[in-house]
Symmetry: C2
Subunit: 135 residues, 2 copies
């Protein structure tokens, strides 16, 4: 017997709030997952000043927040994302546009291009992206 009405079974859990420093970590893990603690540390050690302990803290906060899970592998942890990268990225974009531009994309683009001169090639790339969305 087919179910009626109740289309969406799982309520969407709200995305965890990912802080600035945490984004740095999430981006690594979205790129490469599963990934061990020490691999995360290695991936970051040339780009960021952080002590390993700092990275450990960020990892466990991300687990608490429900952004990551981990499984024990020997004595290390293997992390993987629990939240979808594109979803988080879009949330962050929306939130930024809302905060700064009252939610509108066009003023962002206009203001940005006003300040940062892009090369002809870069402009062309943006135009191609728009063309892809051509109705």
């Amino acid at each position: 017997m087919p179910r009626l009405i109740k289309t969406r079974t799982k309520p969407v859990p709200p995305l965890p709030q990912i802080s600035d420093a945490e984004w740095t970590v999430m981006k690594i893990i979205w790129q490469q997952s599963p990934i061990s603690t020490s691999q995360v540390v290695q991936a970051l050690e040339n780009r960021i000043h952080w002590k390993p302990k700092t990275i450990h803290t960020l990892l466990s906060r991300l687990v608490q927040k429900g952004a990551l899970t981990f499984e024990k592998q020997g004595r290390e942890y293997l992390f993987r994302p629990l939240v979808d990268a594109r979803h988080c990225v879009h949330e962050a974009s929306r939130s930024f546009l809302n905060r700064v531009f009252d939610g509108e994309l066009a003023p962002f683009l206009a203001g940005f291009l006003e300040r940062e001169k892009l090369s002809r090639a870069e402009i062309a790339e943006l135009r191609r992206i728009l063309d892809g969305k051509q109705s």
Copy 2:
């Protein structure tokens, strides 16, 4: 006698870090300045839940941070921005792109359009913005 070398006399003071809630206030003040405390409260009271006290706190924090000045007018304060809106907006944009998109604009635009379907007119507007930047 013309001055040599030392082109930039004033060192650029770093922009104050404006929080999420504070952006709401700054946007009002950039729109309408000088503006009194009670006017700010009024401007926000229909859009936001905040108690007036909360807004007062935000205003004084923004003064502390050097984002606003005020002058006494009777017993009220009249506020005006000390930081340039476009400058702050651009800083925020850069910071967002750095955090989420490793600083790149194109992936932002592509991802955003993937998620949010814009109308033909909106796309056209974006294209016009790009055309304005045509070399």
